[in-house]
């Protein structure tokens, strides 16, 4: 119960932060990237605030042997800069630049009852499922070639 409740509280704080910061608003996000037009630098303050707080908090927490409700910290172990990371990031930026929605902004926007957020999140989930399928079929083909 405490496990679920603590995740709910973290989610509530995230959702409120996304809303208050303006990250929830696609028009504001698009304006942050529009240096040649209606530039709105607010997003730099969102990223800056989030980054400083997270870095300070992590430096304390990650010195502890384990989190409160789990046996270990689940930190990504991959270190290599590979093609999926580079290409995936570039592709993500194209979609973000077209719509002004990123996953962390769009999911809280569902709570505003905005149809555009529903359409975006539905399409994004379909995109993730499609990407999994592509990755699986590519991996299978490579394995059968080695065999």
């Amino acid at each position: 119960m405490a496990r679920i409740l603590s995740a709910l509280i973290a989610g509530l704080i995230l959702g409120a932060g996304i809303a208050i910061s303006g990250m929830i608003n696609p028009a504001k996000v698009l304006n942050f990237f529009d240096f040649a037009g209606t530039w709105d630098p607010s997003l730099a303050f969102v990223m800056g605030g989030a980054l400083v707080v997270t870095a300070m908090g992590y430096s304390f927490i990650l010195k502890r042997p384990a989190p409160l409700f789990d046996k270990t910290f689940h930190l990504p172990t991959a270190r290599k800069l590979d093609l999926p990371l580079v290409a995936g990031s570039a592709v993500f930026g194209i979609g973000w630049g077209i719509t002004g929605f990123c996953p962390g902004g769009a999911v809280p926007a569902l709570g505003l009852g905005e149809m555009s957020a529903v359409i975006f999140v539905g399409s994004m989930l379909a995109g993730i499922v499609l990407a999994r399928f592509i990755r699986r079929s590519v991996t299978t083909r490579m394995q059968s070639r080695i065999a």
């Binding site: 529009d34 990504p76 995936g88 930026g93």
Partner: protein
């Protein structure tokens, strides 16, 4: 035009950071929307319950704010026509899956850990987004 909101944005950003800290302290998890959401897609991961609770909280909080303070408290405008929302959504979904994260996972949590992969990912998607906005708005005439 959107209003420049340095204080609200800084405060909201600090709250995003606080949420990331809590999720790490309680569950040992990166507060990345892509990763948390992916575990809720079929095949459902075993630890779906905390993921669902986190996502539910993230959706409910903005709803509570507009119920208490009114819709004007959270400005929202999506200038993009529906077909482009669908295309953009698909592109984002494919991109973040292969990138292994998005603005929250790489851009906040990964950068805070100085992960080289996250630094690279963030630089690339920020540049790609800025380039896309320039092309859409200034070369193609915008929406």
């Amino acid at each position: 035009m959107t209003e420049f909101t340095p204080l609200a944005s800084l405060l909201g950003g600090a709250m995003i950071g606080l949420a990331a800290i809590l999720l790490m302290a309680f569950h040992g998890r990166i507060a990345g929307m892509t990763g948390i959401l992916s575990g809720l897609l079929p095949p459902l991961s075993n630890d779906w319950a905390w993921r669902a609770a986190f996502i539910a909280g993230a959706i409910v909080a903005p709803a509570l704010i507009i119920i208490v303070a009114g819709a004007s408290a959270v400005p929202f405008e999506s200038p993009v026509p529906t077909p482009w929302l669908i295309i953009g959504g698909l592109i984002v979904g494919i991109g973040v899956h292969f990138a292994g994260g998005c603005t929250s996972g790489h851009g906040v949590c990964g950068l805070a850990r100085l992960s080289p992969r996250s630094i690279a990912a963030t630089l690339i998607f920020m540049a790609s987004t800025a380039l896309t906005v320039f092309v859409v708005r200034h070369l193609l005439g915008g929406f």
